[in-house]
Amino acid sequence: MSARLVPPGARELPALTELRHEVRAFLAEQVEAGAFVPHVDTWLTRWDRDFTRELGRRGWLGMVVPTDYGGQGRTYLERFVITEELLVVGAPVAAHWIAERQIGPSLLRYGTEEQKQAFLPGISRGEIVFGIGMSEPDSGSDLASVRTRAERVEGGWRLTGTKVWTSGAHEADAFFALARSAPLDPAHRHEGLSQFIVDLRAPGVTIRPIISMGGDHHFNEVHLDGVLIPDDRVLGEVGQGWAQVTSELAYERSGPERVLSTFQLLAAAAQAMDDGRLPTDPGLGRHVARVAALHHMSFAVSTALEAHQDADTAAAVVKVLGTTEEGDIADYVDTLTASGWAIHDELDTLLHAAILQRPGFTLRGGTNEILRGVIARGLGMR
């Protein structure tokens, strides 16, 4: 059989299903109690520190953080089912998303013992909220072109530059910033970059909102004006920033949030067809099938990551297919709906939000164009 792009599938066993049901029951209670209103793309758009802390209390944060650092010491697979259940119900999970997905794992891999002790317990309780500072105004897909400078000073570094698209920076406590700590060598563009843990309350940090096309404020521009970063807040090795930020991409790209951002809309459309408010159409079945298959594919990648297998290409496949699909769901439902067919309807609200969020799906975390290149490389074409 040919070399596969994606690891072989795996069946979920009862121990995992039990956890799934436990989370599902909790979330159903929460919806019932009105603790949150299900929405789309909530891992970016719905920020609720109380809800996040409640997840922490239940032991559903810091899933892969060892218990020594206040985490749960459990598996990527268990984190996977919790993540899926939170996303499908459209729960307000933005506050802990970045920390749970990538800050925790990065700290575990590259952080000092002191850094781990300082941040991981708070992350696992849902009390320390992190953002991520990678993109810059001119960098776009070309991350190695970041211009934020880190200058060596007594006892640390001074960071100067501008990060953009920093989701939740106005609410977060800290972020990881990628900066150039040595001058650019055009022949080795990926060298001379480093990661820094930046306190977003520190002097020299200015946070300005970037308002999205629908009028919402999720993103920010973070100006760093000579912000002092003490040596103990360098993450990992100076000069190894590129290797550090790219090593965790498979975790970032293969998760259920690349498939399920519009699941609430799909579910509402299924209901509307059952109620006769939308015409019955085979397109619904096609989309449900793709979401189901992507659920299996995303899980298969998780089992590979749990087994410490390389899954960079597979993660790119999940992200290209999944983000295209979650966006296509928005467009599909839009083609079925006629203006004036209903009002004050849940479907309308979800549809408009999905349309407004959709452009970001295939851009954030690596554009589909970049990722197709990653897949082509995985196929040996580059």
């Binding site: 979920e12 239940r58 299924a270 449900v288 496949v317």
Partner: protein, 372 residues
Amino acid sequence: MTDRSQTSQPSEPTEPSELAAATTPDPDLVAVLDDLFIDYRATRATPTAVVDLDRDLWQRLEELGLTRLTGSEAAGGSGGGWVDAAALLGLAAAAAAPVPLAEHDVLGGWLLESAGLPNDGGIRTVCRPDPSGVALNVTWARDASRIVALWEDRDQWRVADVPTSRVAVEERRNLAGEPCDTVEFDLDDLEAGTVVPHEIGEQFHLRGALARCAQVTGAMERIVEVVLAHVRERQQFGRPIGRFQAVQHLVADLASETALARTATDAAVARAAASDWHDPGMLFAVGVAKSCVGHAASVVVRGSHQALGAIGTTLEHELHTLTKPILARRSEYGSLQDWDETLTALAASAGHDRLWTLITTGRAKPAKETHA
């Protein structure tokens, strides 16, 4: 917020092996199949427009016990499960091997065993004749020694193992040039069939559909290899065409669709294997596979022919020995549209609150309603 803190914290961490089970075919079997089909591909004749059963290959498969891979050992089979059978079907399809493995073993052999009928060798195909005893598009009928008929007769399902000499065969060929005949039975032969449980009648369509998914997916995986070899080698404007970004994206897309089809097929096969087809979610699982495989076929057939250019449209090229059967098989055991409609009905019936349950378990309704 409710206040049930810490309740779900387990005292002992769960091992990954207790959480998920891989479902991969027997590696020894795969090694045998790889060798067999690599050899087959290397020695077979140039492709033809008309494809006939390869009796030499069938004999080699028989000698290896592969023509009755899924038969129980008691009945002279190899006792293989659906995971192994899907691997065999996929690899045979990847080699465009003109042999009725799905019909003879996976479907026909199963029907005979389910009916408690003897399986005395020979080559079989399988079909579902209509009330008047006519079956359309019966693959390999003219080449079979007997035809296993599944027949719905006054609300009862019967299985009859009818010698081909007793049926009228009108020879036709499908898009792939394979025998795909019209068969007319003597109603007496069908009425003499053994009554089987209703469940068998319902499962037949699902098993047939999933067997086709395994074949189509295997053929698509081979296409990815063929395309990759071509775009590395073929030069245009002074470099391999695989260096062009447009070609890279075309190939990335068809390979990704193939991967999704593989995932969906394997998930359905794993569910079938784990429950011996008794899982009430099989209809949904097979539907997901048939839908993903069918839509992938559109992308893969189109993209592979586009990547290969004119050379890929010639009779002597391997490509059409894969693309034509893919399209022939995706329309068998229900059209793509039929299956999307089935999934739509399941999804609408699940509604807002149970759509996710449908996706994770295959059940649109709570368990008690499903049994009702």
